[in-house]
Each structure stands twice: as C-alpha cells, then as structure tokens.
Amino acid sequence: MSSMLRHYGLPLSEPMAFGLSSALAFAYLPFIKLSGLPLVSWRMPPKAILRGLQKPLGFTMRTETFRTPEKGAARLNELLDAGQVVGLQASVFWLPFIPPDFRFHFNAHNLLAYGRDASNDDYLISDPVLETAVRCPAADLTRARFARGVLAPKGLLYYPANPPRAPEWKTALPAAIKKTTRIMLHTPVPLIGVKGMLWLARAVERLPVAADAQATKLHIGHLVRMQEEIGTGGGGFRFLYAAFLEEAASLAQRPALAELAAELVEIGDGWRAFALAAARMIRDRDPLDPARLAQCLRAQAARERTFFAALIRAVCE
C-alpha cells in the first residue's frame, strides 16, 4: 500500500498508511473457517484498509473484480501497459515465489504489480512478504488471482483514480485514531475488538486436552500463525501501530502519543509471549494447558482495553 502511494507521488511510510486507514483491529470469526479452523485477525480486511485511506488522502481507489480469468488478465495487462501500478488480491498457494512452507490456501494476500515483460509474459511483482521484487509467470498469477474458496479474490485489482495528496495531519490523525479505538472498544458485536479477545479466550479454554490433544494443538498453532505470519511486523500488528503512533506524535504535535506507543510495544511483546507459550505447548516442552493460554488472552484484552481508553483520552484532549 505504502509503496503504491509512493509511486503516485505521496511518500507515506508503511506504519503511517496502516494507522491512517485505522487498520488495527481484532476479530474472531468462528463462522469463517480456514481448513476447519476459525478466522482470527489482528487487523481490518484489506478492502477496508484501501477504503480507509481514501478520505484522509483525498483520492478514489478504483476496485474491479471479474467474472472470468481471461477478462481479469486482459484488464491487468491494459492497466500495466498504461503505466499504472496495480494492487492485486491473490491466493498464496498458487504463487511460485512464496516459500513452499507458506503456501496454504489463504486467499486474502495482497501484492503489487508494477510492470510486465512483454517478451515472456512475466509480471513484475512487489510482494510485502519478500524483501526484493520478483517475477511471476502470467499463468500462475492469473490462477492465484482467480482461486476459489473462502474469501475468493475474484481477480480483485485496485488502483487510484486520481493522485493522492498529503493529508491535513492535525485533523486526519486524531480522526483515524478515534476510529480505531471505537472499533476496539465499542463495536456492538462481541466478536470484534477487546470483546472478541475475551470470546476467543472462552473458546480456547474449552478446547479438549485429553480427548483430542492433536486437534487442540493444531487450533492454537493456527492462532499463532494468524498472529505472527499474516502481514508485517509481528505481534499481531501492534508493533506496526506503535510505529505509527510514534510518527503521529511528531506530525500532530501530541507527545502523549509517543508515550502510548511505548506501552503498545509492551502489549505487542505480550502477544509474542502468547505465541511463545503456545509454541512450547505444541512441541510438548510445556504441558498442554488451554486454560493458561486463555488467561494470557484475557490479560491481553485487559491491557488493550486500558490502552485504547488512554489513547482516546490523549487524542481528545
């Protein structure tokens, strides 16, 4: 996202793009199953992140999906040939440049196409997971963009219809932060925000220990994968948001935000401690104890509740 905006003339850091679109969240969605396990996310869905940037940056993001792969590929070629940089949603499984151990059927992966090699039809891709740009054969990319299943991308591509401009920091930053605190503290659905963590804690607590230890281990392993391996930064995006708060503190001249950033880093460390505890149980270095993990989740929920309450106070002053 950040590299896309940079291409269109607006240098915006990755944490800033993340924070400005109010992307930090928590959601526990047991009715969306990924290979039989619930979807847990520490951020908003990619489409919400795209939409969230439109208002502060004063531009329109055009999104398109397609009925058939042929139409989708043709449109992508057309845009790339016109010199656009295009964001894409694709399934990780069919992308040949992703390390094999990471290739699962996870459809909500976002990457950037910035060009095309007309001689052999390779696309030039910048993927947030990788450090360097890569090439991807056309057939593989089309297949990944039109993977079916949960959260099917349907060839989604997006690009700005008009150039983004620098936001009015003094108003845009507090507004974005307020929105995040609202999501975390006051969403009326108990599966979202801090309440979602408590709900997840209850579900984890109920996992069987003796009856089906293997399934329980898979379940908690899945949670850790969703937390640490989706997206950048680790710690369920808490470090990324802390970096945003730090940047916001100087841009909006609110030093209180920098102090809160330090607190959020500690919360992120708490999430990593949760991941570590879960991993040790998976490898039988510690006895399998879902109740302890649930307690850990509850502690995280309590810390985040205090944190976001303090955050809204700091912004509204």
Partner: protein
C-alpha cells in the same frame, strides 16, 4: 521489543528469505529490522505443513489398500480439505465425498476428471496415480 531481541533463528520455512519486524532502536525510536525468523513461527508453520503431510500419507495408504480413491491423496497433497475442494471445483460436497471413494472415483467422467486435475494443479494422468 528491542533491536537486539529481534530473533535471528534462521527459520527454515522462510527458505532463506528475511522478514521485517518493527523493533526499538538504541535511540528509542521504532524501526524496521530484518529478521531471519523466529523459532515459534517455524514450529507453527511446520506443524500445519506436517498435519497435511500426515493426512496425505494416510490417504495414500488407504488408496493403496483400495479403501479410498487417489483423489483423497491428491486433495491433501494440495493442502485442501473436503469443503475447500468442493468450493474450488464448484461441485457439491456430497458429490466430492462420493468421488473420494474408489467406486465413485472409478465412475468419474473424463470431464470431471479434467476438472479435478485442473483444480488441484496436476494432469489427468497424475490424478490416477499415487505419486
């Protein structure tokens, strides 16, 4: 997390790639630091991969003994399960379930065989075999 605490545990699931982690530098500011991987991530990723490998190996054994169809083996090998294979192929779950049995698989039309092969990213000939 401080810069010195960023794990560099050469996670083999990363395949030599590095990933960025935001950590606190000596001057107290947060910055993106490349990480060679964290053992925790390696454990959970390998766990998920191994779970599918175990399912595939068991399905292969069953298919050898004639208790299951090669389709089941190829399904797990492509890291799919019943509901995902049904969604990806656009068939109803009960039909897929039927094709997971040897009798159902034997009756498959060439068109459906082709469809499964495409969904799983293999050729029709491969779909018949167990490797």
């Amino acid at each position: 997390m401080n810069v010195n605490d960023v794990p560099q545990e050469s996670n083999r699931t990363l395949d030599g790639q590095r990933k960025g982690v935001y950590a606190r530098r000596a001057d107290g500011r947060l910055a993106l630091v490349p990480s060679q991987g964290w053992e925790v991530e390696e454990i959970v990723t390998r766990q998920a991969v191994e779970a599918f490998e175990a399912l595939a190996a068991a399905a292969r054994e069953r298919a050898r003994r004639g208790e299951s169809s090669p389709l089941e083996y190829h399904m797990y090998r492509a890291r799919m399960d019943l509901s995902l294979l049904a969604q990806a192929s656009g068939l109803w779950r009960w039909r897929v379930r039927r094709h997971l049995k040897p009798q159902g698989f034997a009756r498959l039309s060439p068109v459906l065989r082709q469809r499964y092969a495409e969904t799983l990213g293999i050729t029709c000939a491969q779909l018949e075999t167990l490797d």
